[in-house]
Amino acid sequence: MIPAAFDYYRPKGMDEVIALLQEHGDDARVMAGGHSLIPMMKLRMAEVPHLIDLQDIDGLSDISVDQGRITIGAMVTQHDLINHDGLTAAAPILREAALQIADPQVRYMGTVGGNVANGDPGNDMPGLMQCLDAQIHLIGPDGERTVAARDYYEAAYMTDREDDEVLVSVSMDTPQGGYAYEKQKRKIGDYATAAAAVQIVKVGGSVKSASVAMTNLSDVPVWSEAACDALVGTACDAAAVKSAVAAMLGDIDPAEDNRGPVAFKRHVAGIILTRAIERAWSRA
């Protein structure tokens, strides 16, 4: 649990960050809250000869809720998410999910940007961002670009982001309807055995639109279009929920680990999604 030696940088401007990333390529990494990266460095699973701390970069810690659009800066912590009244009013699912991430100490440090950028299938924010159809804003040597969260994740720790790009913010339309973030974990501070993010819009007693994303049940977050389709147009009754679950099960691919064997995870994924849909529907 002793990391290898590294050089530490704390630049004041984004230009400098990008210059350092270009200079050192693979050997450099940005650090946000450090609560995924530092453990990896201590385990010597990540070798980072050049560590670039983003703390002193201005303008990455803002939250704005404006005209139906939410923007969250990369350096906003999970703790900030929980305590922002405007955000909670506009997108209560963010608070419900953030409260189920890690523990208070970790949440003081862990950031939205780090959680989204990390690419660990255990992170909760990626699935949540897919559920909300968020846009991910990156900046690199060629300027800014935007990628949909649903297109961002390629494999475990592999994302659409280039080595010399920095995630600056995520944005999304203010979500509509009922919501739920449901997560089963072994203990506080644990990643999900299975988690589900659900938003449902109800019109005239039936589902107008639905969004379903699952966490830690594949090497990437799983936004299940088939599960959404199974709900739309129904009265969200038991049969509809059942077919949404069946559709979701077709999209996930969990692996056995200490949390349990595949059969257990698939079963729990179904239960968790059922509960999430029921809760979201009850709030719709």
Binding site: I2, K187, I188, T193, G260, H267, I271, I272
Partner: protein
């Protein structure tokens, strides 16, 4: 007596003696980050050690190349078995009569085994150098299953090849360590053969780990000028470490000083001797500089002493109406690559022979087979007296299984089999003499408090509702009644490496009436500085606030066997009382002289001696202390000091009655603890607040073990639970509200009647949590399912019962 003399009640309260919830004197420093742990020790010129560890569970070490590591600036030495061999320190004796490699001697036997010791000027350089040591391994077949190991041709311990006699008798196979038999096999088999009812079950008590918050470490400093070695370390038994270090190194014992500074939890993990301690000593001798070694969390979990790992098969015989007539138990004990169990020498399976529990069982038989596998060595008593947790889990599960077999209520089955109050002292079928107990009273109080009948009624209604499809949650009522055996122990049958398990206390009263007492034990969080001062306060009439308690420095403390197995209060606590009584006896003579009466005409009264029948004539202990040093008293030596070495006549037998109410989500396997009631009888209660704290801690570790905490290996011998992400350490979040309660049945042979409590809640708690889980499924035909009851295993039990169909 003048008007300012406080009344007796006030004087008694000022003493802060036994029975009062005095606040812990240790906490002022611990809560302010002012503790002094091994890793806080920094000496001028100190070097840092770190281990190269084996990635394989079983492999031959073909070669070790140190060149690249030695070339790294700051690296001072890289030690291997070859370097230690000339000193004969490449192997070391274990507490169990086996020997263990300090550094890999030709092969490795478990993942994480110490292969080379890097010494460098800086902790970071040491870690970098570890990566640079090139070790070539040749993998060997791995045995992680003890039953397979006993059948396999693969010889794990080549150093023992051909040896058919081990430290504890004959070895049946090259991977077999010992067979330990207790009780009457023929008699037990006869009872089983003729019994009206026999219940049989096999259970695995999984491997886990004590995981103290502070990991293990040491700082060795060899002063080549005066020839003195000082060793600071995380030692639960500093005197034993000094003696062993002397025997191993050849340094005379007076030239070795062992210090246990503040210890951040032990729970059995810090009883044994680890390669790191030996390597830090050797490195200090070789370099002439102080050398520190502190392991990290992963090293602690994968290489230092584990606990449990017992495969237990039981047969219990009974009459049709539930009277138990006999008990048979066989254990296959997985000891890992070396037998490093920390048990008294004559007890290779600890006190597993307490497995007849709290019940009057006429005949019993126990056999334990110890086996080598490719896992880490250990087998310590994790928050219990030697293997008592295993024994109590075994009998408390067998009782439940028998209740199922008899279709009887498990609380009632216990009640009709308890040893009765009037049977104490009671000699159990496997030999132990229980000192005192009143089990029926405790049990009735527990069941009444939780409204046991109401709970069963609610549970039955829940089962019906579940069957009707109205709920997916089942309710379990977990019961356990345990008897601990602690306070090892009488020198006639308890020793460790030949050292008798007495303990000691030395008291000095200062002229102004305050005092210091030193003991052979060492607190690791138990609050000795608080409670031992309370015992003394009551014995010698000096306020606990005026008494310093010191432990852990072998240069100043009297010899003792240390702290584990709940032995501190039963043994050192008794020594403290006895030494206090010696002080009091001398004080009485001084008081009589000062009051100009005969010795027998004064009597002790809280904080003074008074003339019998004339309480206005008295001398306080303060006055007596001053006179002891400053007044010439004919026939009495100056000073007021005493020492006591206490060899207990018997063990003590704390007991308790626990009930857990749990709701289980059948679909997700998530258990929710609704209620936990713990009644403990630890005899005389010294500090109720500390007892309560000990009970909360022990129950929390019980919850951990029962519901998820394990050291798991894959088929290749890789540790799967090497970090706290996967090794379950509960937090406030997972822990329920505990309701604590008590009865008081003093130990008849202990000077103050105290029995010890630190481990009871763990011993009784594990079966209680486990029984709650299993009881939830009893109505659906579950007989037994193994711990740990984490979500997926509970789910699996439900799944196998068809509850997901």
């Amino acid at each position: 007596m003048n008007d300012l003399t406080p009344d007796r009640e006030e004087r008694s309260a000022n003493l802060k003696g036994m029975g009062c919830s005095r606040k812990r004197v240790e906490d002022a420093r611990f809560t302010q980050g002012k503790g002094n742990y091994v890793d806080d020790i920094k000496l001028p010129g100190m070097l840092h050690g770190d281990f190269v560890r084996s990635p394989y569970a079983h492999a031959r070490v073909v070669s070790i190349n140190k060149d690249a590591a030695m070339a790294l600036p700051g690296v001072v030495a890289v030690l291997t078995a070859e370097d230690l061999a000339p000193l004969n320190l490449h192997w070391m004796p274990t507490l169990a009569g086996d020997k263990q490699m300090v550094l890999a001697d030709g092969k490795v036997l478990f993942q994480g085994q110490e292969v080379a010791f890097v010494v460098a000027s800086d902790r970071y350089v040491a870690a970098d150098a570890v990566e640079l040591v090139e070790v070539e391994y040749e993998e060997l077949p791995v045995l992680t299953d003890p039953f397979e190991a006993l059948k396999s041709d693969v010889v794990l311990r080549e150093d023992l090849a051909g040896q058919t006699e081990g430290a504890h008798g004959p070895r049946k196979h090259h991977n077999h360590i010992f067979t330990w038999e207790q009780g009457d096999e023929t008699g037990t088999n006869q009872v089983l053969d003729n019994a009206e009812v026999v219940a049989e079950e096999t259970m695995y008590y999984h491997r886990t780990h004590p995981c103290p918050l502070e990991t293990c470490g040491s700082v060795a400093s060899m002063d080549k000028v005066n020839g003195k070695l000082t060793l600071w370390g995380t030692f639960q038994a500093p005197h034993v470490v000094r003696t062993v270090a002397s025997l191993l190194s050849g340094i005379e014992e007076h030239n070795i000083r062992v210090v246990s500074p503040d210890i951040g939890g032990g729970f059995g993990n810090k009883v044994g001797v680890y390669p790191g301690y030996v390597c830090s000593i050797v490195a200090s001798i070789v370099t002439g500089k102080p050398v520190k070694w502190v392991e990290d969390r992963m090293e602690n979990l994968m290489s230092t002493a584990f606990a449990r790992d017992y495969w237990m098969t039981g047969k219990i015989a009974a009459t049709k109406d539930g009277k138990i007539t006999g008990l048979h138990c066989h254990v296959t004990a997985d000891h890992g690559g070396f037998d490093a169990c920390a048990d008294p020498t004559k007890f290779p399976a600890g006190f597993m022979n307490i497995c007849t529990g709290s019940y009057d069982i006429p005949v019993a038989y126990l056999a334990v087979d110890g086996v080598y596998t490719n896992k880490a060595p250990g087998g310590v008593s994790y928050r219990c007296s030697f293997r008592v947790t295993e024994a109590v889990y075994f009998i408390e599960r067998m009782i439940e299984v028998l209740a199922i077999e008899l279709d009887m209520d498990a609380a009632e089955l216990r009640r009709i089999n308890f040893i009765k109050k009037e049977q104490f002292p009671y000699t159990a079928a496997l030999g132990w003499e229980y000192d005192s107990g009143d089990y029926h009273t405790a049990w009735d109080k527990a069941l009444k408090t939780v409204d046991y009948d109401g709970l069963r009624k609610e549970q039955a209604e829940r089962v019906e509702a579940f069957k009707r499809g109205e709920t997916r949650k089942l309710m379990g009522v977990g019961l356990s009644f345990f008897t601990e055996i602690v306070g090892a122990g009488p020198v006639k049958n308890c020793d460790i490496l030949g050292m008798g398990m007495f303990d000691s206390c030395e008291i000095r009263i200062h002229p102004t009436g305050s005092a210091i007492a030193r003991l052979g034990t060492i607190s690791q969080g138990q609050g000795h500085a608080t409670t031992f001062a309370q015992i003394l306060a009551s014995e010698i009439g000096i306020s606990a606030d005026s008494i310093t308690i010191e432990e852990g420095d072998t240069d100043t403390a009297p010899y003792g066997l240390g702290t584990y197995g709940s032995r501190s209060t039963p043994v050192a606590g008794a020594a403290t009382a006895m030494a206090g009584r010696k002080i009091r006896a001398k004080a009485q003579m001084i008081a009589a002289y000062l009051l100009e009466v005969h010795d027998d005409d004064v009597e002790f009264d809280i904080d003074r001696f008074v003339v019998k029948g004339a309480p206005e004539k008295f001398k306080t202990m303060k006055e007596i202390a001053y006179a002891a040093y400053n007044q010439a008293i004919p026939g009495i030596e100056p000073g007021l000091e005493a020492v006591s070495y206490y060899d207990p006549p018997n063990m003590t037998y704390p007991f308790g009655a626990y009930v857990c109410v749990m709701d289980i989500d059948v679909d997700t396997g998530v258990p929710e603890i609704r209620r936990f009631y713990a009644l403990d009888d630890c005899g005389t209660r010294i500090n109720p607040m500390i007892i309560e704290g000990q009970v909360h801690g022990g129950l929390t570790e019980a919850l951990a073990v029962a519901l998820g905490q394990e050291i798991a290996y894959d088929k290749l011998g890789n540790v799967k639970t090497g970090t706290l992400m996967d090794f379950f350490l509960p937090t406030a979040w997972e822990v329920p509200n505990y309701e604590t309660d008590y009865t008081v049945t003093p130990s008849p042979h202990h000077p103050i009647g105290a029995k010890g409590v630190g481990e009871s809640p763990h011993v009784g708690g594990v079966p209680c949590f486990s029984n709650a889980v299993q009881d939830a499924f009893r109505a659906f035909g579950l007989r037994h399912t193994n711990m740990p009851h984490d979500h997926w295993r509970i789910w699996q039990a439900a799944n196998q019962l068809g509850l997901h169909d």
